[in-house]
Amino acid sequence: MLTVVLAPFVSALVAPWLVRRLGRWASYSLALVPGAIFVWAVLRLDSFAAGASQVIPWVPGLDVALAFRLDGLSGLFVLLISGIGTLVVLYAGGYLAGHAMLGRFFVFLMLFMGAMLGLVLADDVIALFVFWELTSLASYLLVGFQSEKPEARRAALQALLITGTGGLALLAGLILAALAGGSWRLSDLIVAGEAIRGHGLYLPAMVLIMLGSFTKSAQWPFHSWLPGAMQAPTPVSAYLHSATMVKAGVYLLARLDPAFGGTAAWTTTLLVIGGITMLAGLMLALLETDLKLILAWTTVSALGALVFLIGPATEEGARAAVAFLLTHALYKGALFMAAGNVDHEAGTRDLRNLSGLIRAMPITFAATAVSSASMAGIPLSLGWVSKAITKAAAIEAGGFLPLSVITFATLLLVAIAGMVAIEPFLGQKSEAAHEAHEAPPSMLTGPVALASLSLLFGLFPDLVSDAVLAPAASAVAGSPLAVEAKVIKPFDWTLGLTFVAFAAGAALYVLWQRRAERWRDRLDPVLSRGPDAGYDRALAGLARLASWQTRLWQPGLLHRYTAATFSVIVLVTAAALFRGDLRLAFPVDRVRLIEVVVLALTGAAAIVAALATTRLLAVTALGMVGIGVALIFMLFGAPDLAITQFMVETLVVVLLALVLVRLPGFRLSAAADRPRALHAAIAGATGLLVIVLLLGVLAEPFDPRLSEWFARASVPEAFGHNIVNVILVDFRAIDTLGEIIVVFAAALAGLAAIAARAARKDAR
């Protein structure tokens, strides 16, 4: 299975090369990869029910493995991903023939394919997440493929941010689920359902995982990115936004249904969110005139329907979900490709400019018609079969409300099917239709193949019901199920209801053709406040918050920075003092006059330095402070320090003089420093804190081990009588080494700065 997942990644790496070498044949060679995977999966149909696993260690330290598991549900997905993938690769070869960046397109597409296969096959929680995020990433690049268009860039970002938000929630949710279930394998978690549902982390894990699924599968109110993603080239829409990526969320919900399902929270949330999404999507589809957008909204609706079906966590629901999953993938893939054909060949996909295409594009029309029929659930199509299963599920789930929701959805879908299949193709030839001609074979293979399958499975549902749908439904339900799919059913009142819905839908289509324009105008102000605008508002709000807080922290004024730094450090350190009893010492024994004089003069000099307004006075006062400190060192037994301090102070004054003399006409005026009270408070607090800290230290006993050892070892072991110097050049020579490097580097740094001054001539 690792090979299956890796194959598309490898082919992504060679895709640009293939395109350059083989030109238009590249798509055929690339299609071999998903084609082979499809064959691989078909050959393994028998083992779907039993399930097959493969575990390759990846990061054992974190218990992360490349664990794969092929069962009914993942098998169904693998078939869809590879099967539709093959058709889409061929289709893209025609759709984007001659495009300058076709190679790059295939890189992204194959990358996505690999990620998607990994996602559905992964049996490891983290591996699943890895592939999940990779699909988001690949979709970002695909949606933004026409990157010169600002709308494409916006749509790509919106898709990434919304699915990314969900992705992060999902990560947290999956980790919590793994902690609750005690394993990082999905197959273990599914078995540990009872433990998970009883765990304290169940609810947060459920909410977070749902958030991830809902964003990925475009559930209300996170759906807005999906219509936007129609900025992608049509092959992408046909692949990602119908059959694969958007179904990832549904896949995850279905996958975890045995572990998480069955609680009131799970069922209610999924029914409500799925129901809203399903109906809202259909109604919004009616308001569109862009063929692709209509399809996008029906996709949103279909995803809602799938969530709605998974919600009750019943056997009927599982059957219905997988049946509808397959149905939708087949018809929606075909419809998107057909819409792409119309766009490609007639130059527009706006319904208002399209009609009468049937002459020019008969094959496209046929594929569209069959697929639309399947979408509407007309008899003899696969849609009809899955609708029956769905209705059974609705009845089981609780009768009236679910059933009426589904019937209402049928009604709307019939009208939409009319918009998609009848409006562009029948009637008088529009201007665009005169120019149009049928799409090339590469672009017809996909829609025709998928539409044929809709028809074939509609006529002979047994072809898929046992081999594919039953194992998949079993995986969703967590126990073995059979799927009974019938074309002909005994007549009862629900069947009557369906035919009533068909009739009403047809009527709605006829009426709607006249009224639609007015409704679109009327609803526009309402819809422009929807989640899509909410996304914009959120982004703008984020930008405002960001720039506000950046101005707050980072106003570009050094004195604010220093003030904040000192304040924070003083406050936090002072607060820490209260972590224990503070003892202070006040040692004042036998103070000598000379000490007092030196101390007083040093303090006075410091104050003068602070208040000085002329350079000379400031420098002199600073020198006085330095000499005072040198004298203090002298008084307390540190001659080396005193000499060093004195010499350094001299050189500082020399440097100060050399620098200050070069700053003509400037005064050290303190007048500009406005918030004096605040600064004085900070300065006072800092001084006070240092006093308290030092007096506290002095109250503690001192451990003189080191000094005593130095005194003992200095002469016999290091052959030096000046202990300070011995410390400097021997005991702690590395300090001194670092210190001379500082002196050395200070010189170089100064030279570099002076060179920067010379750079002014040619500077920016």
Binding site: S547, L558, F566, V588, V652, V743, A763
Partner: protein, 120 residues
Amino acid sequence: MELPLVLLIGLLTAVATWLMLSRNLIRLLLGFAVLGNAVNLSIFVAGRLTRDAPPLVPLDAETIAGAFANPLPQALVLTAIVIGFGLLAFALVLAWVAYERLGTVRTDEMRVAEPPEEKT
């Protein structure tokens, strides 16, 4: 005898902080110099003060007989003094270069790297 010195350190710290909060770069650097002195004295005090002999072993002896000043803080302070000097020397050069390139030593007028936002 430590108390008066600690009070002086506190005073130096307060003065230095006050100077470092200034918008004038030269005053800020003066503040750094003063604060450096205060911190060096703190290390000195933290090693405990003594008026005893400096840490020099008599040339004819193996060890110091009586009490002596703690040599370790002295070595540390010596290192700190030189490092502080290196930093200050560079900072002074930088102040001069800043004045020549930016035309000011007032930090609130240095707005090249973080330009104030235009009001829109």
